[in-house]
Point group: C2
Chain length 379, copies 2
């Protein structure tokens, strides 16, 4: 990992035609905020689409003007990095329903002139992919060299391979699953309850009410964060270390791990100003993701038309989307004679590992992307 992309400026694509959502609702018009890095080559065959996870956005690498923190995957995208912007044209768009620039609950509903809030329709993985396909057409890219994503991003990669099989040559699915388990759904439901039972939630119309359900959102984030980390890693990082010199025997923060989680929750709800309705929508989209349900619950049948080759990566200590869940993906792909590389990477960082530096992970990622790069050059 060498230099970084410098200053990047987000762009906005406005789509003035309605998007028919899976739920049956119609989004009359929408914006997609996106960023690009690197250059599209003359053959227009070196474009990579990055799909983001629950709390992510389009700002995946480089720096925004005046910001000292780079995009969320800056370790893996840039000149000389696994997704090498000297060779690839990288695109990442903010998902519909988010609060980072694409149309979502904090946007103005053109039909009422008011903020959408809770009136923003439920969006699904398929809806996101449909809107990303509009972006693809706008950029005049016939076929992505690869669609890449971790966690919820990995689900979008699979949805691309199912819905637009001819539009991607490679799918890179990291720390994901073909559907949420009952336990995953249950964690999401507890998080949603925390938000929706905050008295500042106002049935989702909190922006209209001039407030935000900060407490509920912070609680949801604490719980989410807790499930992204492994027990071992939390043990190594915090153990039972106290915040003060000795036990206070009170309900104040006593252990470092409590302090850390509270800080993460509050930062998310205040400094990062994440929208509570967006959090609800993203967790729902996760719950609903189950592409095999349209194929008689046959995981293999879901990929019957898929043409892309795949890299699937999981992390040993990830208990939210464990390696066993990634192996289900690999099996479903292999059942269709799809060319798939699978790596189970040793890491103590739990689900978060997909975002963090790791020599083994980086090596696999880099080698695979080199192959994608050579194909682009040979075409």
């Amino acid at each position: 990992m060498t230099e970084s992309i410098g200053i990047v400026t987000p762009q906005t694509l406005h789509i003035d035609q309605p998007l028919a959502l899976v739920s049956g609702a119609l989004l009359p018009q929408y914006d997609l905020r996106f960023e690009t890095y690197g250059e599209l080559n003359a053959q227009r065959n070196n474009a990579i689409l990055i799909c983001h996870a629950l709390s992510g956005d389009h700002h995946v690498a480089g720096y925004h003007e005046g910001d000292d923190k780079p995009g969320w995957w800056n370790d893996y995208i840039g000149p000389g990095k696994p997704i090498d912007t000297n060779h690839f044209f990288v695109v990442c768009s903010n998902n519909l329903g988010s609060c980072r620039g694409s149309t979502g609950p904090t946007s103005i509903n053109p039909e009422t002139g008011k903020v959408y809030g809770a009136d923003f329709p439920i969006v699904t993985c398929r809806d996101w992919v449909q809107s990303q396909n509009q972006l693809r057409q706008h950029l005049a890219i016939e076929q992505w060299a690869a669609v890449v994503g971790g966690s919820m991003g990995g689900m979008q990669v699979m949805q691309w391979a199912i819905d637009y099989p001819e539009r991607l040559r490679h799918g890179i699915v990291i720390a994901a699953a073909l559907k949420l388990s009952a336990q995953n759904i249950a964690f999401n439901e507890v998080a949603r309850r925390a938000i929706m039972s905050d008295p500042e939630f106002h049935e989702g119309q909190f922006i209209e009410a001039g407030t935000t359900p900060k407490g509920g959102l912070a609680l949801a984030r604490m719980l989410g964060h807790l499930t992204y980390l492994s027990d071992d890693m939390m043990g190594a990082k915090f153990g039972r270390e106290l915040r003060a010199d000795k036990l206070k025997y009170s309900f104040d923060v006593e252990f470092q791990v409590e302090s850390y989680l509270r800080y993460q929750g509050e930062k998310f709800a205040t400094k990062q100003n994440f929208d509570a309705n967006t959090y609800l929508l993203m967790t729902k989209a996760l719950d609903y993701f189950d592409p095999a349900s349209e194929f008689g619950n046959d995981l293999s049948a879901a990929f019957a038309k898929t043409q892309a080759k795949f890299l699937v990566v999981s992390f040993t200590s990830d208990w939210r989307f464990s390696p066993a869940r990634s192996r289900e993906i690999v099996r479903a792909l292999l059942d269709n004679d799809i060319d798939v590389c699978y790596a189970e990477v040793e890491s103590e960082h739990g689900h978060d590992a997909f975002l963090l530096p790791n020599t083994h992970y980086e090596g696999i990622f880099r080698a695979y992307m080199r192959r994608v790069e050579q194909e682009c050059a040979q075409a």
Copy 2:
């Protein structure tokens, strides 16, 4: 498992002398609510103390007048059951700080004439054991044939063996740990945040305010419940089954697992009327439990004076207190040449397995108790 104990009537022991708590606070006087089953023999050597878990109480077996639901461990305690009341005199008391009859946050503070609420002092495992030792003296029992408990109950068993080594011949520790991990503490902290951020919490003086933080308590219980179940078991029980015939694409309950968890949370907060301050106190006592901390964090040194023999049981799918945590207990006991039997029982029921029927578990438990019984008879 044959017949059940019939109708039982709880008793109350009032202790009119102050209890010096680990926190430094003094409890001026207190009640212990307890139940007994079976008969104390002439040698007074067949008494078994049962210690309860987080949301448990003294009503461990048999039926209360007019109640059609038996005590929480009725499957394992009764005539012909593993803890056979034809042979043993079984005692179980409600922990201090609870809301089921022993002095706790819902009791009147004799110093103010008002409900304790948030003024009830922090209690620890050691405080519970100290108060249970008062009950032992009251019952004129020189030595328990065994002290038995699961989860938080198992922690009390270990505390007995450390603090009153000559007062028990056997310790039975089920699905417990020598201390909570950072992850365990983090889950407790999220649950506490849920309760304390409910606007009906009123800084813990909600009884005075004429209300209860039901929403926060229900949320805490949902989260607790979720961690007591295994991913596999939730998958087998609920999978991704829908509550209605088809997806609604709304924030209503969509999947069976959501409905189940909401029901469990609401039942706990309303029908079972559990006290929110008690929930806070119990989770804190769990966080604080760490007997080795007084022995230079040497787990083995903690048991140096222990005289009892041990049965330690864990369950394969328990991820809250995993088998690895039970093996730590076994190692610490073996380091002191203590006679210990260890069983890792196959179960898909997660942490809850310690409460549920299971042939293997029952067999081990029964065999061990037969040995305890024979020792009583031979003495």
